[in-house]
Amino acid sequence: MVKDITIGQYFPGNSFIHKLDARAKLIVTFIALIEIFVCKNFFSLALIFIFSIVSILISKISFKVVLKGLKMIYLLIALTSILQIFYNEKGKVLLEWWKIKITSGGVNTAIFMAVRIITLIFISSLLTYTTSPTALTDGIDRLLSPLKKLKVPVDTLAMMMTIALRFIPTLIEEIDKIMNAQKARGADLETGSLLKRAKALIPIFIPLFVNSFRRAYELAFAMECRCYNGSNHRTRMKTMKFSWRDFVAFLWVAVMLAAIILLNHFFGAVI
């Protein structure tokens, strides 16, 4: 059950997108996400939507996986879209019943919002699907390193992220073990009201927390033994280098931004 959690899942591969520098990927993703919000009409939105689909194709990640990522939030997408239908009163009236009026403007924005959220998920999940957690934290670490001058503890934050990612599978395994142990003692985790089931989780989480503290203590010892002291003298085994691929990616999003602005300019806005 708990094994279904797919936060930050990474699918190793050898595609163009996998080979991009983590920093470049972060920047490109960030710009692409902004571009989604810059879109004002269906033409520009279609452009970025196609971009996301093409990117997924290039990454060779199966669509099944990407759609599975959507499953978690389909309710959110539906809800936002439906609300748009009722709150927008622009355009032709398509349907009128009692106080509810459905307009063409409403339907348009509803579709627009849905596509926008889907594109958002596609692009952002592509980042984690194609970048190893280590490369990702390393990339964030390096991108934020100018903040060190402002006394922001960037190294420490990156180390915290690394350790958190490192322990997700360990803790998931541990939850499974504790759940089985409690079930063996007769704990009932699957039946009863929501409140009852929530209460049944308490004996799962208390041992989990206690164990986590013990783990943290031991890990701190082990890290100290390996001369970690949170200072800035750390070096890195892997050096990062931008390659021609990264420039292609930068160029791609730049051209797209220009195209979106032009399309926004020449065609009427939906929202």
Binding site: T134, I163, R166, E218, L219, C225, C227, N229
Partner: protein, 288 residues
């Protein structure tokens, strides 16, 4: 000989802090110990005999209550030397899950040298060497949580090796492993000691592992009760049993046979020795 000393305990005592008003008893009592360069030392003792405390004291994680510990001549009570002491003496702990920091094997091995501020190229070389010498090079891109216990523990050992410490203390590294994992780790340790000249201090409660060491130290309630070669130590059956330990299986069997009248030597440690001595007994008409 004095120059060969790597870790030196001079009349060391240590006591853990108590949560209540009554102080806890001493975990380590007036210990004098000298570990020389290149030795393979096994430290034996039942739970709570103070053997793990010994490891933490040698690594400057704990400071002695009284007495002095010198690592390569550096006083472990001096906090400014902590960093250098830990570059000389590395510790591998019992639970491999709680000492692996990174999400990829090779990055975890690189963690120590990265902390020391070593050049990227040199780190790369050290990481590759360390992984090769524990036989985990093919697994360098794997995720640690997908490895077996023995493999994880070997990664942890490689992590210390990459720091090029002169001495590695292993605190019950095989306690959580299955027999196969134990053998893998044991082989890796022996190779480090014999081929690379790394001083190994193995804290364990498996007698069969201690037999493979050059020197065995037996601890009981904070004191060293025996110190010598495995042959010398395991000949002292009574003292070993008083310390809450058992002899290695073959030694136990040999002692039992001897008691029942079979003419067996009393210093047998390994299965091979046992077989040889037993054959001699049978062919020489030594049986009864």
């Amino acid at each position: 000989m004095e120059n060969d000393s790597l870790i030196k305990f001079n009349d060391v005592s240590y006591r853990y802090e108590s949560d209540t008003d009554t102080p806890l008893p001493l975990a380590i009592k007036n210990i004098d110990l000298d570990i020389r360069k290149g030795e393979f030392v096994a430290v034996l003792g039942h739970n709570g005999s103070g053997k793990s405390t010994l490891a933490k004291l040698a690594n400057a994680i704990l400071a002695p209550e009284s007495g002095k510990i010198f690592v390569n001549g550096m006083d472990t009570s001096d906090e400014s030397l902590e960093y250098e002491i830990r570059q000389t003496v590395g510790v591998v702990f019992q639970n491999p899950d709680n000492q692996i920091v990174a999400t990829i094997v090779e990055e975890d091995v690189a963690f120590g040298p990265e902390n020391l501020g070593i050049e990227p190229k040199e780190i790369r070389r050290r990481v590759d060497d360390a992984l090769k010498s524990v036989g985990m090079y093919e697994y360098r891109f794997h995720e640690p949580h997908k490895l077996s216990g023995g493999q994880k523990q070997r990664v942890a050992i490689a992590g210390i090796m990459a720091m090029q410490t002169e001495c590695i203390i292993l605190d019950e590294p095989t306690a959580m492993l299955d027999p196969k994992g134990r053998e893998e780790v044991m082989k890796a340790m022996q190779r480090l000691n014999k081929e690379l000249g790394v001083t190994i201090v193995l804290i364990t409660h498996y007698m069969d592992e201690a037999v493979k060491a050059d020197r065995v130290i037996v601890m009981d309630s904070g004191r060293i009760v025996l110190d010598g070669t495995p042959r010398q130590v395991f000949a002292e059956e009574e003292t070993i049993e008083k310390a809450g330990l058992e002899l290695p299986d073959c030694a136990k069997l040999a002692h039992a046979l001897k008691r029942s009248g079979v003419n067996m030597p009393s210093d047998i440690l390994t299965p091979d020795e046992f077989v040889e001595a037993f054959q001699r007994c049978v062919s020489g008409g030594g049986v009864l």
